[in-house]
Symmetry: C2
Subunit: 112 residues, 2 copies
DNA sequence: CTTTCATATGAATGTACATACATATGATAA
DNA sequence: TTATCATATGTATGTACATTCATATGAAAG
């Protein structure tokens, strides 16, 4: 695109309101966490009850390795926490933001 | 994993509350839309003002083709709408859910 | 009509990432 | 200690998808 017509008015207004790249990137990363079916299922399950890794595997019908990898991602993002209980690791939600975000997604889903 | 210990109590409770696969998949797809930096930027910009494709390109410093592809994805998902104005296509947000979802994401970002 | 600008779209490419496999670590029991 | 269960993690692989390039379509002007 060589000949761009003038948008300076609109663009300058918008540009001021737009957060910096790093922040927008972080924001995208948060939604990316919710953008995977496996992770959504895990988070949704944890909304109901804390669960050990093995229970999540059985619930989703997936391999333990896959679940553990996803749990680590969720933990690094501070969406879930874990505690040891003997041989097991029990995972639970870190806070209520997860519930709010999922519910908001559902709203959009049902209203369109 | 051959020898799975018994989780039937917890699992049965959670299983009843878990939506079906198709619904969870759709839910994930919505968040996937917000999980890309380019799309987040576009949506954020449209929160401030309706914009033509060319303005978005200039604002984000990206190629027109890339922007158009992303706009199509957002339009197919009913997050944005477009209208023709001469040679230009003006894009705007379809509803206020976008604002709510982005704001909620920001909350999580700033509180952790 | 032809030309030019604005946008849309098909195809190719590179990258990010979810899963599988193999293996390591941690914890309890014998 | 060794054996077994539960989980974690490193690596490889396949797939999904964002961007680019090239081109097509749409709209206005000359």
């Amino acid at each position: 695109m060589e000949h761009i017509h003038d948008h300076s008015k609109e663009i300058n207004v918008v540009k001021k309101e737009l957060p910096n790249d790093s922040l927008l990137c972080d924001l995208g990363d948060i939604f990316k966490l919710f953008g995977d079916t496996t992770r959504i299922k895990i988070l949704y399950a944890l909304l109901e009850s804390e669960l050990c890794v093995c229970a999540i595997c059985e619930l989703l019908g997936m391999e333990q390795s896959a679940i553990s990898h996803q749990l680590r991602i969720l933990k690094n993002a501070n969406l879930v926490t874990s505690k040891r209980s003997g041989k097991m690791s029990i995972y639970s939600l870190a806070d209520e933001h997860v519930r709010e975000i999922i519910e908001l997604g559902f709203e959009h889903l049902t209203e369109v």
